[in-house]
């Protein structure tokens, strides 16, 4: 009986851990760049969540990456390669996708990926 209970507890705990790992990945935020504050190192995105449009301010830290994807220039290479951008390269109207982490009440960018320049 004791072994069975311990086994059940271990299986349950493992399940909880596995479930947490499986669901803890944060969905990215995508939206249109509304404003860029290069001095304040922030980016305002207009996003839609559950049918409501809202503005989200993203804080960029030195370790935050901003990239866009371009075709490789090396002959024979296919696909896309990352090209690093700075915050000032972004333009209002561009569509980006941002993976973020919470730091207090701030959304801090891990990676900003340019989806569309327009």
């Amino acid at each position: 009986m004791k072994k069975l209970l311990i086994l059940l507890a271990v299986v349950g705990a493992a399940g909880v851990v596995a479930w947490s790992v499986a669901t803890a990945d944060e969905a990215p935020i995508s939206g249109t760049v509304k404003a860029i504050d290069a001095a304040g190192k922030t980016l305002m995105l207009q996003t839609v969540a559950k049918g409501k449009t809202r503005d989200v301010t993203i804080v960029l830290k030195p370790e935050s990456k901003i990239v866009k994807f371009v075709r490789p220039t090396d002959p024979g290479k296919t696909g896309f390669v990352e090209q690093a951008l700075s915050l000032s390269d972004l333009k209002p109207g561009w569509i980006v996708s941002v993976t973020t982490r919470h730091e207090g009440d701030k959304e801090v960018a891990d990676v900003v990926k340019v989806v569309l320049e327009r």
Partner: protein
């Protein structure tokens, strides 16, 4: 149980609750919903009426020039999200809350109608339900011409491996939802194959028109398109929504003024649109025609005594009274001999009873009927013989033949 076991049993639910709390993103953080991400979020809802008549020219699906043009655009504008191979795994797409679809998925692509496809490419993630799902798909209608958008779609279609045109007779799956609705709501009159031979329909007015429409014939009475053309989907939607009233006649037992085709107003819009996509699939001409264009109905002018007088003269000159009679009661000298395109006797509409006007009794409805005619019936189009202003004259005179019409459109500028 021993204390240690109790401790384990007590801590497990707590651990579960903490794990759920940690792993659930606060609502303010992301605009993607994990459920939608997993499913791809690509609900193949019907395209709205603005796009419902948009169909790729059939040859376009396999036209190498068009496909090459589409590829050129795709690799520069689309592949970054949709992937070079259409797998939806382009580097920018991988980070999106709502992942691009896998266009290599034959079953998924087979369900996508071409008008839905064009709608999505044109409007991107702006319309619902995609907006709420966090779609980042850009709208391309401002950047790409319609031809270029079709070219991109033709190229995307190649990812599925399907070699033929992307049409319902190649992919019945794309009208399956509509087929199910049709089976529940329409086959009683229109029959399983849409030939108008359902078990109930013929009993409505035996051996006499109107019979349930043969949807395979390509003849539709109630249109906003010029004579000889197919209706727009909006026309079909109007008919399904409003139903069709009986125009009277000796064998329409107890049905005069009542609907011989019921109104499906109660049916959700999306279901009506799905059913109509299936209805259209009965006739390939909907995919083979040039883009449908409705006639323009100019703003209704004011009713005046002069206009009514001119309309009365036109009523005689255009020989309306031959069928509808001098007083509009549908008792003109030709009325007893009228037949529809299937050689069934058909009654001339009693114009003193606007409630029997099959295509509607508002001035703009009567205008439309006069300009388009009613396909398959003796009612001709007057688009070539009457100027728009003359058509309004006739509209108001026709409406003046009934008490209801007079009450609705009070003459101004001189009275009667």
């Amino acid at each position: 149980m021993r204390p240690r076991t109790w401790w384990l049993a007590a801590i497990a639910p707590g651990a579960l609750a903490i794990a759920m709390w940690i792993s659930s993103p606060p609502p303010s953080r992301a605009n993607g919903e994990k459920d939608h991400v997993d499913k791809g979020g690509h609900a193949h809802v019907p395209a709205p009426l603005d796009y419902a008549d948009a169909h790729m020219p059939i040859s376009g699906w396999t036209d190498p020039v068009m496909i090459a043009r589409g590829k050129e655009i795709y690799v520069t504008k689309c592949a970054v999200c949709h992937g070079d191979s259409g797998d939806g795994k382009g580097p920018a797409g991988a980070a999106l809350p709502l992942k691009p679809p896998d266009l290599r998925d034959k079953a998924g692509v087979a369900e996508m109608r071409d008008n839905y496809w064009l709608w999505r490419v044109s409007e991107g993630g702006q319309p619902e339900p995609f907006k709420s799902k966090g779609s980042a798909m850009p709208p391309w209608k401002a950047d790409l011409s319609v031809e270029d958008r079709w070219a991109v779609i033709a190229y995307q279609h190649t990812f599925s491996g399907h070699q033929g045109p992307h049409v319902p007779w190649e992919h019945p799956e794309m009208v399956q939802v509509g087929r199910d609705i049709f089976a529940m709501a329409c086959i009683q009159c229109h029959g399983v194959e849409g030939r108008g031979d359902g078990s109930v329909g013929a009993t409505l007015s035996p051996r006499r028109a109107p019979q349930p429409r043969d949807l395979t014939s390509g003849q539709f009475k109630f249109r906003s398109t010029p004579s000889g053309q197919l209706p727009t989907t909006a026309d079909l939607f109007r008919t399904v929504t409003e139903g069709v009233r009986s125009s009277g006649g000796p064998l329409t037992f107890g049905l005069s003024g009542h609907r011989i085709m019921p109104s499906f107003r109660h049916m959700p819009v999306a279901q009506r649109l799905e059913a109509l996509e299936f209805v259209k699939s009965f006739y390939r001409g909907f995919w083979e025609r040039a883009p449908a264009e409705a006639i323009v109905i100019p703003p209704a002018p004011p009713v005046t005594a002069e206009r009514l007088a001119r309309g009365k003269q036109l009523y005689a000159d255009a020989e309306c009274l031959a069928c509808h009679g001098a007083t509009g009661r549908g008792d003109g000298p030709s009325a007893p001999t009228l037949k529809d395109s299937t050689e069934l006797p058909i009654a001339a509409t009693d114009l003193t009873q606007p409630k029997r006007f099959k295509s509607g009794a508002r001035p703009e409805d009567v205008y439309r009927t006069l300009r388009t005619g009613l396909a398959g019936t003796p009612m001709p189009s007057y688009a070539d013989s009457l100027e728009p202003d003359q058509t309004w004259d006739l509209v108001y005179y026709v409406l003046s033949l009934s008490q209801e019409g007079i009450a609705r459109e009070q003459p101004r500028g001189g009275g009667r």
